[in-house]
Symmetry: none
Subunit: 414 residues, 2 copies
Amino acid sequence: MRAEIIAVGSEMLTPFRQDTNSLYLTEQLNTLGVVVRFKTVVGDRRPDLIGAIVTALSRVDVVILMGGLGPTEDDLTREAVGDALGIALHRDATQVAALHARAASWRIPMPQNNLKQADLLEGAVLLQNPMGSAPGQWLDTVYNTYRKVVVLVPGPPHECKPLFDAEVMPRLREVAPPRAIATRTLKAAMIPESQADKILAPIYSTYTDVETTILAHAGDLQLTLQCTKPTLAAAEERVDELAGRMEEALEEWLYSSDGDTLEQIVLYYLGLRQATLAVAESCTGGLISERITGVPGSSRSFLGGAVVYSDALKMAFAGVPADLIAQHGAVSEEVARALANGIRLRTGATIGLAVTGIAGPSGGTEEKPVGLVCFAVSDAQKTDSMHRTFRGDRKRIREWASQQALDLVRRRLM
Amino acid sequence: MRAEIIAVGSEMLTPFRQDTNSLYLTEQLNTLGVVVRFKTVVGDRRPDLIGAIVTALSRVDVVILMGGLGPTEDDLTREAVGDALGIALHRDATQVAALHARAASWRIPMPQNNLKQADLLEGAVLLQNPMGSAPGQWLDTVYNTYRKVVVLVPGPPHECKPLFDAEVMPRLREVAPPRAIATRTLKAAMIPESQADKILAPIYSTYTDVETTILAHAGDLQLTLQCTKPTLAAAEERVDELAGRMEEALEEWLYSSDGDTLEQIVLYYLGLRQATLAVAESCTGGLISERITGVPGSSRSFLGGAVVYSDALKMAFAGVPADLIAQHGAVSEEVARALANGIRLRTGATIGLAVTGIAGPSGGTEEKPVGLVCFAVSDAQKTDSMHRTFRGDRKRIREWASQQALDLVRRRLM
């Protein structure tokens, strides 16, 4: 089955905002064997929107419209779908009541134009949206004698994704012809890209029935393998075989065969070893802590740490001696080691991690250029340190540094 | 003039990759008064591509195709444009020579299929691509009696952008009717969306000649005003007038009339007051520090802080008394106040900021639900605290909390 995703909203035709929901929706659709053949972004102009819907109806089986379901005059998706298909809208009494109840529970008056959100296309099924006031719609209809599925989902990601999972996917599963698709995601950290190419290309290029997608970003390599066969067992066999050969080739660079993030893996190993982690961050400025604490349940193994941006805080929170900083400079392996050791002792964590570097754009010297970052990992037995020089802007240097730091902890725990 | 940007490439219809060039191209086009009305992503299938081009020709004046210009069998943009317009391709002798010279300079044999890249649409101008082997093309033509400009540019961002700037923009400037465009971006923090609608809609809706784009995300409201007039003075006058009225209506919610981020503004005020900031973060887990230190030069006013994820670290790094936590719980305004005051005293900062809350998905209770976050700001004079309950998932609650926290500092400094 072929699908088109239409993102509706003039803001996505500005330089400031971009549709991102469609990546998630594509991933979900692919699991059902539904292939996205087109993506379109269209603004809040009714004729443009109608035209885009008619075009989509003429070239795919499933049309998914995201956005334009709110209460304002600019929210025209319902009306435009009605126009494109020649279908009327009617105001759904149950939904009107729900909107009133929602307003009452928030103790706010209900604006009259809110009621637009209760307008349902004739023949459509209303899709509940627990995260917002605009419900989705599912319409299984006929256009020019062809069966077409038209789906309306809200635009905000935190409304779109749960609604798509809970309400759209089960319905699509009934409509899509059964397919057997096996997928695996391997992830590796800090492997040089040229190295990855050299060892992986000769392997995956011989598996022409498995689609391998490679994505590299700031020290994180993601390999997604996908295979479609008449039976799931046949598809899984091919994916498993290729995955096995790649895992072997990636050696210790591989950190997950399951799609987990590096921070999830670090927390997994910490839990396994009943160990705890504390972090002293200078140039990453909280990014490592933020990545770790983004994982639910991280508090079991992550104690916290210090953002030791100033030299004074390096002394106050991690006990780095002032003369060590004076002698080697704040960006040095010596100071990184003192930070890692100090944060571990101050917090009572099993492992201390420290990062200090020059994220730029200024602050670099001949000897210590922008992008130089020093790392250290400390436990009761030993303290290891290293340094690397990353290229790119401030954001990219910080991303690389956080990835390298987490990978050092992973390797220590392995 | 109306434009459509078509990104060509099957990889952009996977869950893993997304067109990003179009944001840059849109920004450039807008400076000429060329408005992007549609964006389309289409894969490397010839009929799909021809269909997308025909659709675009029927609805806009300028069609920009990105990608599909390389030497492989999947690179079909040239052929598809020819099919859509009924125009033949011819092999350009100069370009053939250039491809041979390029291969020779790299000392690599020249594969036969590379010559595809010398195929030029009849009537098109070749656009030099110093960053790669595939040149662009500019075609000023007629379709169904209407003048249409069709532009082919390479897909890789480091080839696309310089070629667009150097070769496409000057030609578009000659074609586009002269326009004068004024733009302003206002930003406000933590204003309830319904409130923003209520006070702003009556204002901007009367300025029908100024296009107002409103973006709201996790407590951050961005208003972009754009006006096109025969002269720049006339456009600026209208934008300034509307901006002035909106600024007045937004009162203290407004934090920037220049497009700055909230963290930039906080750092700006800190610099102005010669004040320093330190942060104790629990549920935000480093996000506030990460946002602040993402700004170059933040080290002048930001000392750092502590990620006090465990109760023990709340005591160790911010001196929160154990019995205060026992009495009120770690998520309480009392503990937030002790954290803010403690981190300020420990670090010697002028201002201490603290956040403690329940980011979920678990850990909530009847009395203290997921999403409850307590905040405190402390300086030598006083310590203020507040709490809020945010909805959404862990990521969203943390984003809202970081925004609220930064806004409290801004208001204290104002």
